[in-house]
Symmetry: C2
Subunit: 220 residues, 2 copies
Amino acid sequence: MNVTATEENYLKAIFKINERTNKAVNTNSIAALMNTSPASVTDMLKRLSEKKVINYIKYKGVTLSPEGNKIATNLIRRHRLWEVFLVNKLNFSWENVHDIAEELEHIKSDRLINSLDNFLGNPRFDPHGDPIPNAEGKFMLRNQISLDQLRPGQIGTLVGVKEHDSPFLTYLNSLNIELGTQLKVISKIDFDHSMKVKIDTNNESQLSQKICKNLLVKRI
Amino acid sequence: MNVTATEENYLKAIFKINERTNKAVNTNSIAALMNTSPASVTDMLKRLSEKKVINYIKYKGVTLSPEGNKIATNLIRRHRLWEVFLVNKLNFSWENVHDIAEELEHIKSDRLINSLDNFLGNPRFDPHGDPIPNAEGKFMLRNQISLDQLRPGQIGTLVGVKEHDSPFLTYLNSLNIELGTQLKVISKIDFDHSMKVKIDTNNESQLSQKICKNLLVKRI
DNA sequence: TATAATTTTTAGGTCACCCTAAATATTAAT
DNA sequence: ATTAATATTTAGGGTGACCTAAAAATTATA
Ligand SMILES: [Mn+2]
Ligand SMILES: [Mn+2]
Ligand SMILES: [Mn+2]
Ligand SMILES: [Mn+2]
């Protein structure tokens, strides 16, 4: 089934919303995520349904068909591999790769993406710690929790971030927090649920609950 | 000036035809090169003229404005750099890179292309021997002649090919001819202007005039 | 359960990019 | 200089992807 770049983006959006909510995806959430109008979404859902890449029942939300799922996971694979390329080979930093990958992901060539994967050493995670699905669309799972779930005294290694927007990542840069950084919870403030955290063996910083919820760590 | 990917392709086509003919480019030649109808070309020329990237006089053909020239040379720069990437880093061979580069070239990020250029070691020629313009759009010139201009006994090093289509390049592969290969003219047949040519220090092959006109060499 | 609020779809329209057929302008040939 | 051939543009139309406003369906609330 031949889909356009725009259609791929819609499928990816549906995949991501479903990943988060685990239920049929509604029109408005797609519109919100894609910065488009609900009417445009309905328009597109009809086309995607026609192409049999989604299961669509009027007013009842939408899920991906097996073919749609394959297209979406493949797109995510390409997106994340290009992000690795940009960071590891072209020395971009993690807050500057998403928008470019958003374009690169649509280049359609299996050969290209498999060569790229190989060239990069078959990475399993992207620069934000997100798993890169293999050619069959399987994601690698990892036991991870958000930093705010740690109790004082506990230590975690940063393995991922939930939010990917530039300002948040730039803020982490300023705190010297990156993937692999060790974070030790010193204390928690009950009032606003912020935490005092020791970053690697260096400085201590006060992190808001919002920040802590967006930092994914592996307990050690 | 913001141009779409399609508009960029038209500008590149105009640039290439003008490069070959050195005069105002006519509608039909653009249509032929782009596999589209003359009516569609006229349609696009109006848009491009509106955007001031071409100088267009009805019925009189078209030339690039300075801004149009900049867009076209920049596109060619991106195209050729991606081809180098595919060949030098991802181990593609020269007959399989053009179509993919045709998509990659439209990714718009100066930072991306400058990092790529740097990553590749600032190559001055692409895998087909075509010069890669610098960031200012300047092409490197090289004194080269087509193989058919050599006389028996003379030797040339292959520095480029005129045609870029897959079958031609695949044929060259089968003859063990690639960039850098030494070609020594053994004899010329007056009847069909074909040539017997020694390829490096190995075998001799009979090459048709059409092939010889497409091989660009530097005399040594 | 009836009404209000929210969500979703339909209606009708725009814009870029393409098409074919017909009309018009330019260039070549007699 | 006409006429014929060729090149180019105009006319009219289609599709994908968007939009706003209005209508209809669903869900929440009183
Ligand atoms: Mn991303
Ligand atoms: Mn995308
Ligand atoms: Mn090429
Ligand atoms: Mn192109």
